[in-house]
């Protein structure tokens, strides 16, 4: 589709190869605007086979690892015509590329290009991204499952369909998820409450690991997950895509499609996008038996309309996430006696067959999000962004039909969250960039039927300031934030019918400071020290009742104080033409880490006996290491390895902490074949993942010993195939291909059943319209 008029002037200045000894063959260049000769910051320059780079503020980019020969160079920049050309590379070379605006009116930048798509704050925290080909390999998975491929990120599972992301051993209220720029709020304190997010709507999943409260607000103690859709289209015409997924194990089928269009108006660009996903899965099969009632259904929908021009933009977004998830019947063991009996069985006594039907017990969740956001670029190079969002999370959990015959859910929680974020960014010159922001949030929670957590209303406010200074190879950044949190609960007195309204107020000042140094173009090092905090969550303060699948009677503690964490992390990145290494180290010290501690008391009800758990606060320490590396053994064959180590310690009682992910190791071998015009970028990948046994557990605090270590073999293969002039991306993945029976320490159903057996998935992606190139 070379409709674009390519105006390219490649001023090829042959420079003397300064050093040939390393074999580092460099290609550098500058991207400028055609008319003004102004450098373009944030243009994407890609070379086939070498990936892509983003130009810096001087419009510069650099590629290493070139060999003599021909390369296809592609340059894109929003608001400008894309450039694609073949260059001949002979030794070191410098190129200059000038780009022309692709519209009559909008000759300048529509969306101000930024080096970091994520957010230009806190570059010194450990950050990983999943996008492009990597994202296509995991598309359709639950968010918590999809992110497991990132070192330091694991998941807390409740059976085969419920995954909660865990960053550096922290989850639930200790991490924040931003869905399209809006803080996701949906009873995330619950251990079996997975994030209500459709990963098909994302073009990029990034994880900021470590205390990121400064920019994102209270609760971001363990880190932040950013789920970002593709930017709205700026080139006219309709584009879109269809994604299909079929998996063998639970006979999962998924269809997701999106359609988008941009119009040129006199003053700017108007665009829209529609996206939807349907998913259905039946009972999961472990190597030896099916897990009854583990199917799920999901239907998601989102729509977006945006208007943008050089200085001003406004966008509205509405999305819906609806799911119905069966809860494995073999896990229905509330009392200690039932639990002990279930644990002692080698396999569940539940009917073992395949079925798509979902019976009680099950949970249905409906999450609606409406967002309107706007930006304005001031003449002084400042930028103001305002976002308002309203989300409604409706969670209904159904147990077996009670003998009373009532059909209502046992648990009904409706959480309405409204957020307002105002951020002002200013490039102050002299390498200084600063950001000033205000976050406001209010929530209303309404429960019905059973009492698990009470009704509440909260108001939260925060104000932050972040400054960043870049000079030559050094970047320094610092931030300060103040938060205030007010929450009033509404609940019935246990004995009288009066309404009690306990109030909880907390406030905190947090800070962050970091540095990054680029020793050579290949080697960079960064360090960050910061603090983060969260107020105790509603369940920790006021829960009072039985957790139906854990034999636990949870009792909140009204006197809990805020939880504060101090985090230091450091990372080293090295990249040359064959070797890539990323090493991260972190240490987090908690002051007032809140967790449910088993007490020696037994609570009895009509069904039997339960252990009483009280929420308490201790001082704790989490430290660990994330490593990922890859090495090109040959031009086609790449070996890569990942490692996540974590050590968590309860400093108050000098013992380990419970439910901390075990150490993990992963190794992969990927073979990239030479493709053809109709069969592009084929690859085959074999991987082995080893999860150690979690031996660092507190004594006498669990019903069963942590499961044994296990290793799994995985494989995948994929390519882009041209059929009838239509490009189709296909990949096949096989997980647990040896069909190994194993249990995972981080699965809350490990007491009752094995994990899923082998699973083969076929993913087909059909891009439509202009993007089909």
């Amino acid at each position: 589709m070379n409709k674009l008029i390519v105006v390219i002037s490649l001023v090829m200045t042959l420079l003397m190869p300064i050093s040939g000894q390393n074999g580092t063959q460099l290609l550098s260049g500058t991207v400028i605007e055609n008319e003004s000769n102004k450098p373009l910051d944030g243009a994407i320059v890609s070379i086939e086979g070498l990936g892509s780079k983003i130009t810096n503020s001087k419009g510069q980019f650099i590629f290493s690892g070139l060999k003599n020969g021909s390369y296809i160079l592609r340059v894109t920049y929003i608001g400008y015509k894309s450039i694609s050309d073949t260059i001949k590379y002979v030794g070191k070379k410098e190129v200059s590329i000038s780009m022309i605006p692709n519209m009559e009116q909008i000759r300048e930048v529509v969306v101000k290009g930024k080096k970091q798509d994520v957010d230009n704050s806190l570059n010194t925290l450990l950050t990983n991204e999943i996008k492009g080909v990597e994202l296509t390999k995991i598309q359709g998975k639950a968010l918590g499952e999809a992110l497991q491929s990132i070192p330091g990120v694991s998941s807390l599972q409740t059976g085969p369909a419920i995954f909660k992301p865990v960053i550096h051993g922290l989850h639930s209220n200790r991490i924040l998820i931003f869905n399209n720029g809006v803080r996701q709020e949906g009873q995330q304190w619950g251990l079996e409450h997975a994030p209500e997010i459709d990963t098909y709507a994302a073009q990029n999943l990034s994880v900021v690991k470590g205390a990121a409260s400064i920019r994102y607000g209270a609760d971001a103690i363990g880190g932040v997950i950013l789920v970002q859709p593709a930017p709205m289209p700026v080139e006219t015409g309709i584009t879109g895509g269809v994604n299909l997924l079929a998996s063998s194990n639970s006979r999962l089928g998924a269809v997701s499609a999106n359609l988008q269009q941009a119009f040129n108006l006199k003053s700017g660009i108007l665009s829209w996008r529609l996206q939807g996903t349907l998913k259905k899965a039946g009972n999961t099969r472990t190597p030896n038996y099916y897990l009854e009632n583990t199917g799920f259904r999901e239907s998601d929908f989102s729509s977006q309309v945006a208007y943008q021009n050089r200085n001003f933009g406004v966008e509205t977004y509405y999305s819906q996430f609806n799911t119905d998830i069966g809860v494995f019947t073999g896990s229905h063991a509330s009392s200690i006696a039932d639990l002990q009996a279930a644990i002692s069985r080698p396999e569940p006594i539940t009917p073992s067959y395949f079925s798509y039907s979902i019976d009680r017990p099950h949970q249905t969740i409906n999450h609606d999000l409406f967002k309107v956001s706007s930006y304005y670029n001031f003449k002084n190079d400042g930028r103001l962004e305002i976002t308002y969002a309203r989300q409604q999370n409706l969670r209904q959990e159904y147990d077996y039909i009670p003998l009373t015959g009532r059909l209502n859910p046992e648990l009904y929680l409706k959480l309405i969250t409204q957020t307002v974020d105002v951020v002002y960014k200013q490039n102050l010159g002299g390498g200084f960039e600063s950001m000033l922001g205000i976050n406001g949030m209010t929530q209303s929670n309404v429960r019905q039927y059973q009492m698990l957590i009470p009704n509440f209303r909260n108001y939260n406010g925060g104000v932050f300031y972040i400054d960043k200074w870049t000079h030559d190879k050094l970047t320094l950044e610092a931030g300060l934030r103040y938060d205030f949190s007010w929450m009033r609960a509404y609940m019935l007195n246990n004995n009288t019918l009066d309404i009690m309204t306990p109030l909880f107020v907390s406030k905190n000042l947090s800070g962050s400071i970091g540095a990054q140094y680029q020793f050579t173009p290949n080697l960079s090092w960064s360090i960050n020290a910061g603090s983060a905090w969260r107020p105790p969550s509603i369940n920790e303060l006021l829960s009072n009742g039985v957790d139906l699948d854990a034999g636990m009677y949870m009792e909140g503690n009204k006197d809990l104080k805020k939880e504060v964490a101090y985090n230091v992390s450091s990372s080293l990145q090295y990249t040359n033409n064959r070797l890539k290494i990323e090493l991260g180290l972190y240490n987090t010290i908690f002051d007032g880490y809140i967790f449910a501690k088993p007490s020696l008391t037994i609570i009895k009800d009509v069904r039997g006996s339960y252990f009483l758990y009280n929420y308490t606060q201790v001082n704790a320490n989490f430290k660990g290491l994330d490593f990922s590396g890859s090495y090109d053994l040959t031009h086609a064959l790449t070996y890569s390895a990942k490692m996540s180590l974590l050590y968590a310690w309860n400093k108050t009682i000098h013992d380990y902490l419970q439910q901390i992910p075990a150490n993990r190791f992963e190794s992969n071998l990927e073979w990239k074949f030479n493709g053809s015009k109709t069969f592009k970028q084929p690859y085959i990948n074999f991987g082995a993942a080893y999860t150690a046994k979690q031996t660092r557990v507190p004594s006498n605090s669990d019903y069963a010993e942590p499961p044994a270590a296990y290793y799994l073999l995985n494989a995948s293969a994929g390519a882009s195939v041209k059929i009838f002039n239509q490009m189709i991306n296909i990949n096949i993945t096989g997980n647990n291909i040896l069909n190994k029976a194993y249990r995972d320490y981080m699965d809350r159903f490990r007491y009752f059943s094995d994990e899923a057996g082998s699973n083969y998935s076929l993913r087909i992606n059909i891009p439509l319209g202009k993007s089909n190139q």
Partner: protein, 217 residues
């Protein structure tokens, strides 16, 4: 300037929406407990003398938040005659509802999913209901460390049946036979066994676990 105005309006609009919160959360819905079996009555009638009836009541009410209050075992006593036969029925009530709800009628309708177990304690035969191990306990008023050693001379037969293809007992009605004078306890457990009822205790989960003091004279 127009744009500035627009963004200002947007902000103001957003703030208005934020403050315009309704107060739905201030109205607290009453707690409806999932499965509130609050009161268990075991009614025995001497088969040779219909006027000789014995009723024991085990009761555990709930507080306003649906959480269990201490068990009332003041009426959980069964004083039986030695060497006698009683026909017995179990009646279960949910007192959290108005009017009080008869749960045993529901169990009868869903007999295919339910099975009662009766365990005289102490016993010298195999336990029908597994004895508690580890941290688990007996229901009140049965002491978890049984303080008596001589067995309770009492045997219980289930006399009703469900309608499963392979019929299994239900246990809403029973026949109780007493032997020589002795004292002990009776534990009654109702198992909920949807699609997995096979006449044994293991499948499913416990709906009810109650106890009685028993004196045979």
């Amino acid at each position: 300037m127009k744009l500035k105005k627009t963004s200002l309006l947007l902000t103001l609009g957003a703030l208005t929406l934020l403050s315009a919160c309704n107060d739905e959360e201030t109205h607290v819905s009453p707690t409806i407990a999932n499965e509130a079996l609050t009161t268990v009555q075991y009614k025995l009638t001497n088969t040779t003398d219909p006027t000789d009836t014995v009723t024991g009541q085990w009761e555990q009410l709930l507080d306003n938040n649906g959480n269990p209050l201490p068990v009332d075992v003041s009426k959980a006593n069964l004083n039986l005659k030695a060497n006698s036969t009683y026909s017995a029925e179990i009646v279960i009530w949910d007192k959290t509802q108005t009017p009080v709800f008869n749960v045993s009628d529901e169990i009868k309708e869903r007999a295919n999913y339910h099975l009662f177990f009766y365990q005289p304690l102490p016993t010298d035969t195999t336990y029908v209901i597994p004895a508690p191990t580890g941290s688990d306990t007996y229901p009140d008023p049965i002491p978890t460390l049984l303080t008596l050693t001589a067995k309770l001379n009492m045997s219980i037969t289930l006399t009703d049946h469900d309608t499963n293809t392979q019929q299994y007992p239900v246990g809403l009605t029973t026949l109780v036979k007493t032997g020589a004078a002795s004292t002990g306890w009776l534990r009654i457990v109702l198992r909920h066994q949807p699609n997995v009822k096979d006449g044994t205790f293991a499948p499913g989960s416990t709906d009810l676990d109650a106890g009685y003091n028993v004196t045979i004279k």
